[in-house]
Symmetry: C2
Subunit: 186 residues, 2 copies
Amino acid sequence: MGRTSTARERLLDAACALVLERGYTAVGVAEICARADVKKGSFYHFFPSKQALTVEAVNAHWAAQRPSWTALLAAPGPGEDRLRGLFEQQAAAQRAARAEHGSVHGCLFGNLALEVSGRDEVVQARLAEIFDEQIDLVHAALPGRSRDTARAVLAQLEGMVLFAKLSDDPSLLDGLWDRTALLLRA
Amino acid sequence: MGRTSTARERLLDAACALVLERGYTAVGVAEICARADVKKGSFYHFFPSKQALTVEAVNAHWAAQRPSWTALLAAPGPGEDRLRGLFEQQAAAQRAARAEHGSVHGCLFGNLALEVSGRDEVVQARLAEIFDEQIDLVHAALPGRSRDTARAVLAQLEGMVLFAKLSDDPSLLDGLWDRTALLLRA
Protein backbone atom coordinates (compact mmCIF):
# COMPACT_ATOMS: atom_id res chain seq x y z
CA MET A 1 0.00 0.00 0.00
CA GLY A 2 2.76 2.38 1.01
CA ARG A 3 4.64 1.34 -2.14
CA THR A 4 1.61 2.01 -4.33
CA SER A 5 0.79 5.39 -2.87
CA THR A 6 4.38 6.63 -2.89
CA ALA A 7 4.81 5.64 -6.55
CA ARG A 8 1.94 7.94 -7.49
CA GLU A 9 3.41 10.74 -5.38
CA ARG A 10 6.82 10.23 -6.91
CA LEU A 11 5.34 10.43 -10.42
CA LEU A 12 3.61 13.71 -9.53
CA ASP A 13 6.80 15.14 -8.00
CA ALA A 14 8.92 14.04 -10.96
CA ALA A 15 6.45 15.48 -13.49
CA CYS A 16 6.35 18.79 -11.66
CA ALA A 17 10.15 19.03 -11.40
CA LEU A 18 10.80 17.98 -15.00
CA VAL A 19 8.14 20.26 -16.49
CA LEU A 20 9.58 23.19 -14.49
CA GLU A 21 13.08 22.33 -15.75
CA ARG A 22 12.35 21.55 -19.38
CA GLY A 23 8.70 22.19 -20.28
CA TYR A 24 5.72 20.01 -21.14
CA THR A 25 6.47 18.96 -24.71
CA ALA A 26 10.14 18.15 -24.10
CA VAL A 27 9.43 15.72 -21.26
CA GLY A 28 8.18 12.21 -21.96
CA VAL A 29 6.57 9.50 -19.86
CA ALA A 30 9.74 7.37 -19.91
CA GLU A 31 11.80 10.21 -18.46
CA ILE A 32 9.20 10.96 -15.78
CA CYS A 33 9.17 7.26 -14.81
CA ALA A 34 12.98 7.17 -14.65
CA ARG A 35 13.12 10.25 -12.42
CA ALA A 36 10.36 8.81 -10.21
CA ASP A 37 11.97 5.35 -10.13
CA VAL A 38 8.67 3.83 -11.29
CA LYS A 39 8.48 1.18 -14.03
CA LYS A 40 6.88 2.51 -17.22
CA GLY A 41 4.41 -0.36 -17.16
CA SER A 42 3.17 0.89 -13.79
CA PHE A 43 2.67 4.44 -15.04
CA TYR A 44 -0.60 3.65 -16.77
CA HIS A 45 -1.92 2.05 -13.61
CA PHE A 46 -1.92 5.54 -12.12
CA PHE A 47 -2.48 7.87 -15.07
CA PRO A 48 -4.02 7.26 -18.50
CA SER A 49 -1.68 9.76 -20.22
CA LYS A 50 1.00 12.40 -19.76
CA GLN A 51 -1.81 14.94 -20.10
CA ALA A 52 -3.70 13.40 -17.17
CA LEU A 53 -0.53 13.26 -15.06
CA THR A 54 0.20 16.91 -15.89
CA VAL A 55 -3.26 18.03 -14.77
CA GLU A 56 -2.78 16.13 -11.50
CA ALA A 57 0.74 17.55 -11.08
CA VAL A 58 -0.63 21.05 -11.63
CA ASN A 59 -3.37 20.33 -9.09
CA ALA A 60 -0.81 19.04 -6.57
CA HIS A 61 1.40 22.10 -7.12
CA TRP A 62 -1.50 24.47 -6.51
CA ALA A 63 -2.72 22.41 -3.53
CA ALA A 64 0.75 22.85 -2.02
CA GLN A 65 0.90 26.61 -2.76
CA ARG A 66 -2.68 27.58 -2.05
CA PRO A 67 -2.48 27.44 1.79
CA SER A 68 0.32 30.02 1.84
CA TRP A 69 -1.65 32.24 -0.56
CA THR A 70 -4.74 32.10 1.66
CA ALA A 71 -2.71 32.49 4.89
CA LEU A 72 -0.74 35.48 3.60
CA LEU A 73 -3.81 37.13 2.06
CA ALA A 74 -5.90 36.54 5.21
CA ALA A 75 -3.27 38.00 7.57
CA PRO A 76 -4.30 41.04 9.65
CA GLY A 77 -3.63 44.49 8.28
CA PRO A 78 -4.27 46.40 5.08
CA GLY A 79 -4.74 44.42 1.87
CA GLU A 80 -1.67 46.02 0.32
CA ASP A 81 0.54 44.77 3.14
CA ARG A 82 -0.83 41.25 2.72
CA LEU A 83 -0.17 41.37 -1.02
CA ARG A 84 3.35 42.61 -0.32
CA GLY A 85 3.87 39.50 1.82
CA LEU A 86 2.66 37.27 -1.00
CA PHE A 87 4.87 38.97 -3.59
CA GLU A 88 7.93 38.82 -1.31
CA GLN A 89 7.30 35.12 -0.82
CA GLN A 90 7.08 34.59 -4.59
CA ALA A 91 10.38 36.43 -5.12
CA ALA A 92 12.00 34.40 -2.30
CA ALA A 93 10.78 31.17 -3.91
CA GLN A 94 12.47 32.09 -7.22
CA ARG A 95 15.72 32.94 -5.39
CA ALA A 96 15.56 29.65 -3.46
CA ALA A 97 14.86 27.65 -6.64
CA ARG A 98 17.87 29.20 -8.33
CA ALA A 99 20.09 28.44 -5.33
CA GLU A 100 18.87 24.84 -5.29
CA HIS A 101 18.64 24.03 -9.01
CA GLY A 102 21.11 26.45 -10.58
CA SER A 103 18.61 28.47 -12.60
CA VAL A 104 15.38 30.44 -12.22
CA HIS A 105 12.56 28.05 -13.12
CA GLY A 106 9.79 30.62 -13.16
CA CYS A 107 6.13 29.87 -12.45
CA LEU A 108 4.90 26.38 -13.36
CA PHE A 109 1.47 27.77 -14.24
CA GLY A 110 2.81 30.66 -16.32
CA ASN A 111 5.33 28.47 -18.14
CA LEU A 112 2.64 25.94 -19.02
CA ALA A 113 0.10 28.63 -19.92
CA LEU A 114 2.28 29.95 -22.73
CA GLU A 115 3.43 26.49 -23.84
CA VAL A 116 0.11 24.62 -24.01
CA SER A 117 -2.50 27.30 -24.77
CA GLY A 118 -4.08 26.57 -28.13
CA ARG A 119 -2.56 23.09 -28.14
CA ASP A 120 -3.85 21.19 -25.10
CA GLU A 121 -7.35 22.27 -24.12
CA VAL A 122 -7.50 20.12 -20.98
CA VAL A 123 -4.32 21.44 -19.36
CA GLN A 124 -5.15 24.96 -20.59
CA ALA A 125 -8.63 24.86 -19.00
CA ARG A 126 -7.24 23.72 -15.64
CA LEU A 127 -4.58 26.45 -15.68
CA ALA A 128 -7.25 29.05 -16.47
CA GLU A 129 -9.24 27.86 -13.42
CA ILE A 130 -6.19 28.14 -11.16
CA PHE A 131 -5.37 31.65 -12.37
CA ASP A 132 -9.04 32.59 -11.89
CA GLU A 133 -8.77 31.36 -8.32
CA GLN A 134 -5.56 33.37 -7.79
CA ILE A 135 -7.26 36.48 -9.21
CA ASP A 136 -10.21 35.90 -6.85
CA LEU A 137 -7.88 35.57 -3.84
CA VAL A 138 -6.07 38.80 -4.73
CA HIS A 139 -9.38 40.54 -5.46
CA ALA A 140 -10.72 39.55 -2.03
CA ALA A 141 -7.70 41.25 -0.43
CA LEU A 142 -8.48 44.49 -2.28
CA PRO A 143 -11.95 45.66 -1.20
CA GLY A 144 -13.41 48.25 -3.53
CA ARG A 145 -11.07 47.30 -6.36
CA SER A 146 -12.12 45.71 -9.60
CA ARG A 147 -11.31 42.18 -10.64
CA ASP A 148 -9.41 43.71 -13.60
CA THR A 149 -7.11 45.41 -11.10
CA ALA A 150 -6.48 42.09 -9.33
CA ARG A 151 -5.64 40.53 -12.72
CA ALA A 152 -3.24 43.39 -13.51
CA VAL A 153 -1.49 42.79 -10.18
CA LEU A 154 -0.93 39.13 -11.09
CA ALA A 155 0.07 40.09 -14.65
CA GLN A 156 2.85 42.22 -13.17
CA LEU A 157 4.05 39.21 -11.15
CA GLU A 158 3.93 36.85 -14.14
CA GLY A 159 5.60 39.36 -16.46
CA MET A 160 8.45 40.07 -14.05
CA VAL A 161 8.95 36.35 -13.34
CA LEU A 162 9.23 35.92 -17.13
CA PHE A 163 12.06 38.49 -17.21
CA ALA A 164 13.72 36.90 -14.16
CA LYS A 165 13.63 33.50 -15.86
CA LEU A 166 14.89 34.84 -19.19
CA SER A 167 17.76 36.69 -17.48
CA ASP A 168 18.23 33.90 -14.92
CA ASP A 169 18.35 36.72 -12.39
CA PRO A 170 16.00 36.62 -9.38
CA SER A 171 17.20 40.09 -8.29
CA LEU A 172 14.88 41.49 -10.98
CA LEU A 173 12.12 40.63 -8.51
CA ASP A 174 13.59 42.95 -5.82
CA GLY A 175 11.25 45.87 -5.42
CA LEU A 176 8.56 44.03 -7.37
CA TRP A 177 5.80 44.90 -4.93
CA ASP A 178 6.70 48.58 -4.64
CA ARG A 179 6.17 48.93 -8.39
CA THR A 180 3.13 46.65 -8.47
CA ALA A 181 1.49 48.68 -5.69
CA LEU A 182 1.36 51.61 -8.11
CA LEU A 183 -1.34 49.69 -9.99
CA LEU A 184 -3.58 50.31 -6.96
CA ARG A 185 -3.22 54.11 -7.10
CA ALA A 186 -6.24 54.52 -9.37
CA MET B 1 18.33 33.34 -57.55
CA GLY B 2 14.72 34.33 -56.83
CA ARG B 3 13.96 30.70 -56.08
CA THR B 4 16.85 30.46 -53.61
CA SER B 5 16.07 33.64 -51.75
CA THR B 6 12.34 32.95 -51.46
CA ALA B 7 12.98 29.47 -50.06
CA ARG B 8 14.93 31.00 -47.20
CA GLU B 9 12.17 33.56 -46.61
CA ARG B 10 9.52 30.85 -46.68
CA LEU B 11 11.44 28.81 -44.10
CA LEU B 12 11.65 31.86 -41.81
CA ASP B 13 7.94 32.62 -42.24
CA ALA B 14 6.96 28.98 -41.65
CA ALA B 15 9.14 28.71 -38.54
CA CYS B 16 7.68 31.89 -37.11
CA ALA B 17 4.08 30.84 -37.79
CA LEU B 18 4.53 27.28 -36.50
CA VAL B 19 6.38 28.31 -33.33
CA LEU B 20 3.63 30.85 -32.58
CA GLU B 21 1.00 28.14 -33.12
CA ARG B 22 2.61 25.23 -31.37
CA GLY B 23 5.87 26.20 -29.64
CA TYR B 24 9.55 25.50 -30.23
CA THR B 25 9.91 21.94 -28.99
CA ALA B 26 6.76 20.62 -30.65
CA VAL B 27 7.76 21.79 -34.13
CA GLY B 28 10.34 19.87 -36.16
CA VAL B 29 12.40 20.64 -39.23
CA ALA B 30 10.29 18.32 -41.42
CA GLU B 31 7.11 20.17 -40.51
CA ILE B 32 8.72 23.56 -41.11
CA CYS B 33 9.91 22.37 -44.53
CA ALA B 34 6.45 21.05 -45.40
CA ARG B 35 4.79 24.35 -44.45
CA ALA B 36 7.43 26.29 -46.40
CA ASP B 37 7.21 23.96 -49.39
CA VAL B 38 10.99 23.45 -49.23
CA LYS B 39 12.64 20.05 -49.55
CA LYS B 40 14.18 18.87 -46.27
CA GLY B 41 17.49 18.30 -48.07
CA SER B 42 17.56 22.01 -48.95
CA PHE B 43 16.92 23.11 -45.36
CA TYR B 44 20.52 22.55 -44.29
CA HIS B 45 21.72 24.62 -47.24
CA PHE B 46 20.16 27.60 -45.48
CA PHE B 47 20.37 26.77 -41.77
CA PRO B 48 22.64 24.39 -39.84
CA SER B 49 19.91 23.53 -37.31
CA LYS B 50 16.40 24.27 -36.05
CA GLN B 51 18.08 26.39 -33.38
CA ALA B 52 19.84 28.51 -36.00
CA LEU B 53 16.61 28.90 -37.99
CA THR B 54 14.76 29.91 -34.83
CA VAL B 55 17.30 32.62 -34.01
CA GLU B 56 16.95 33.96 -37.57
CA ALA B 57 13.15 33.74 -37.39
CA VAL B 58 13.21 35.67 -34.11
CA ASN B 59 15.51 38.24 -35.71
CA ALA B 60 13.18 38.56 -38.71
CA HIS B 61 10.14 38.93 -36.46
CA TRP B 62 11.81 41.72 -34.48
CA ALA B 63 13.13 43.36 -37.66
CA ALA B 64 9.52 43.47 -38.89
CA GLN B 65 8.16 44.84 -35.58
CA ARG B 66 10.95 47.21 -34.63
CA PRO B 67 10.10 50.00 -37.13
CA SER B 68 6.59 50.35 -35.70
CA TRP B 69 8.01 50.42 -32.15
CA THR B 70 10.48 53.17 -33.06
CA ALA B 71 7.90 55.11 -35.12
CA LEU B 72 5.24 54.97 -32.40
CA LEU B 73 7.72 55.80 -29.63
CA ALA B 74 9.25 58.67 -31.61
CA ALA B 75 5.90 60.28 -32.44
CA PRO B 76 5.35 63.84 -31.20
CA GLY B 77 3.73 64.40 -27.85
CA PRO B 78 4.18 63.20 -24.28
CA GLY B 79 5.92 59.84 -23.74
CA GLU B 80 2.83 58.38 -22.13
CA ASP B 81 0.75 59.08 -25.24
CA ARG B 82 3.37 57.38 -27.41
CA LEU B 83 3.40 54.34 -25.14
CA ARG B 84 -0.38 54.25 -25.28
CA GLY B 85 -0.10 54.05 -29.07
CA LEU B 86 2.33 51.15 -28.81
CA PHE B 87 0.16 49.26 -26.32
CA GLU B 88 -2.98 49.81 -28.40
CA GLN B 89 -1.14 48.48 -31.43
CA GLN B 90 -0.06 45.38 -29.47
CA ALA B 91 -3.65 44.74 -28.36
CA ALA B 92 -4.91 45.23 -31.93
CA ALA B 93 -2.31 42.73 -33.19
CA GLN B 94 -3.59 40.06 -30.77
CA ARG B 95 -7.20 40.72 -31.85
CA ALA B 96 -6.19 40.53 -35.51
CA ALA B 97 -4.24 37.29 -34.98
CA ARG B 98 -7.25 35.71 -33.30
CA ALA B 99 -9.54 36.80 -36.13
CA GLU B 100 -7.11 35.36 -38.69
CA HIS B 101 -5.92 32.17 -36.97
CA GLY B 102 -8.78 31.34 -34.61
CA SER B 103 -6.86 31.77 -31.36
CA VAL B 104 -4.72 34.29 -29.50
CA HIS B 105 -1.11 33.39 -30.26
CA GLY B 106 0.49 35.71 -27.74
CA CYS B 107 3.95 37.20 -28.09
CA LEU B 108 6.53 35.11 -29.98
CA PHE B 109 9.32 36.43 -27.74
CA GLY B 110 7.42 35.86 -24.49
CA ASN B 111 6.25 32.39 -25.52
CA LEU B 112 9.80 31.38 -26.43
CA ALA B 113 11.31 33.03 -23.34
CA LEU B 114 9.34 30.77 -21.01
CA GLU B 115 9.76 27.68 -23.18
CA VAL B 116 13.50 27.78 -23.90
CA SER B 117 15.05 29.57 -20.91
CA GLY B 118 17.38 27.19 -19.10
CA ARG B 119 17.26 24.78 -22.06
CA ASP B 120 18.59 26.58 -25.13
CA GLU B 121 21.19 29.20 -24.25
CA VAL B 122 21.55 30.52 -27.81
CA VAL B 123 17.86 31.30 -28.38
CA GLN B 124 17.55 32.52 -24.78
CA ALA B 125 20.46 34.96 -25.19
CA ARG B 126 18.99 36.41 -28.38
CA LEU B 127 15.57 36.85 -26.75
CA ALA B 128 17.21 38.60 -23.79
CA GLU B 129 18.90 41.03 -26.20
CA ILE B 130 15.60 41.80 -27.95
CA PHE B 131 13.78 42.42 -24.66
CA ASP B 132 16.70 44.63 -23.55
CA GLU B 133 16.25 46.62 -26.74
CA GLN B 134 12.49 46.90 -26.12
CA ILE B 135 13.16 48.10 -22.56
CA ASP B 136 15.64 50.67 -23.91
CA LEU B 137 13.07 51.94 -26.44
CA VAL B 138 10.39 52.30 -23.75
CA HIS B 139 12.91 53.87 -21.36
CA ALA B 140 13.88 56.47 -23.99
CA ALA B 141 10.21 57.50 -24.22
CA LEU B 142 10.07 58.07 -20.45
CA PRO B 143 12.62 60.78 -19.60
CA GLY B 144 13.43 60.90 -15.91
CA ARG B 145 12.16 57.36 -15.31
CA SER B 146 14.30 54.41 -14.33
CA ARG B 147 15.03 51.46 -16.56
CA ASP B 148 13.29 49.30 -13.91
CA THR B 149 10.11 51.29 -14.57
CA ALA B 150 10.43 50.66 -18.31
CA ARG B 151 10.87 46.92 -17.60
CA ALA B 152 7.77 46.95 -15.34
CA VAL B 153 5.76 48.55 -18.17
CA LEU B 154 6.76 45.72 -20.52
CA ALA B 155 6.16 43.12 -17.78
CA GLN B 156 2.56 44.37 -17.58
CA LEU B 157 2.20 43.88 -21.34
CA GLU B 158 3.73 40.38 -21.30
CA GLY B 159 1.71 39.33 -18.25
CA MET B 160 -1.59 40.51 -19.71
CA VAL B 161 -0.83 38.90 -23.08
CA LEU B 162 -0.22 35.66 -21.14
CA PHE B 163 -3.73 35.93 -19.64
CA ALA B 164 -5.23 36.82 -23.04
CA LYS B 165 -3.59 33.76 -24.59
CA LEU B 166 -4.60 31.44 -21.74
CA SER B 167 -8.22 32.69 -21.91
CA ASP B 168 -8.09 33.01 -25.71
CA ASP B 169 -9.70 36.39 -25.12
CA PRO B 170 -8.08 39.49 -26.62
CA SER B 171 -10.64 41.71 -24.85
CA LEU B 172 -8.55 41.25 -21.69
CA LEU B 173 -6.18 43.71 -23.36
CA ASP B 174 -8.85 46.44 -23.51
CA GLY B 175 -7.86 49.15 -21.08
CA LEU B 176 -4.38 47.66 -20.80
CA TRP B 177 -2.61 51.00 -21.14
CA ASP B 178 -4.83 52.85 -18.66
CA ARG B 179 -3.79 50.36 -15.98
CA THR B 180 -0.17 50.20 -17.11
CA ALA B 181 0.07 54.01 -16.97
CA LEU B 182 -0.43 53.75 -13.21
CA LEU B 183 3.08 52.27 -13.04
CA LEU B 184 4.35 55.74 -14.03
CA ARG B 185 2.65 57.51 -11.11
CA ALA B 186 5.70 57.10 -8.83
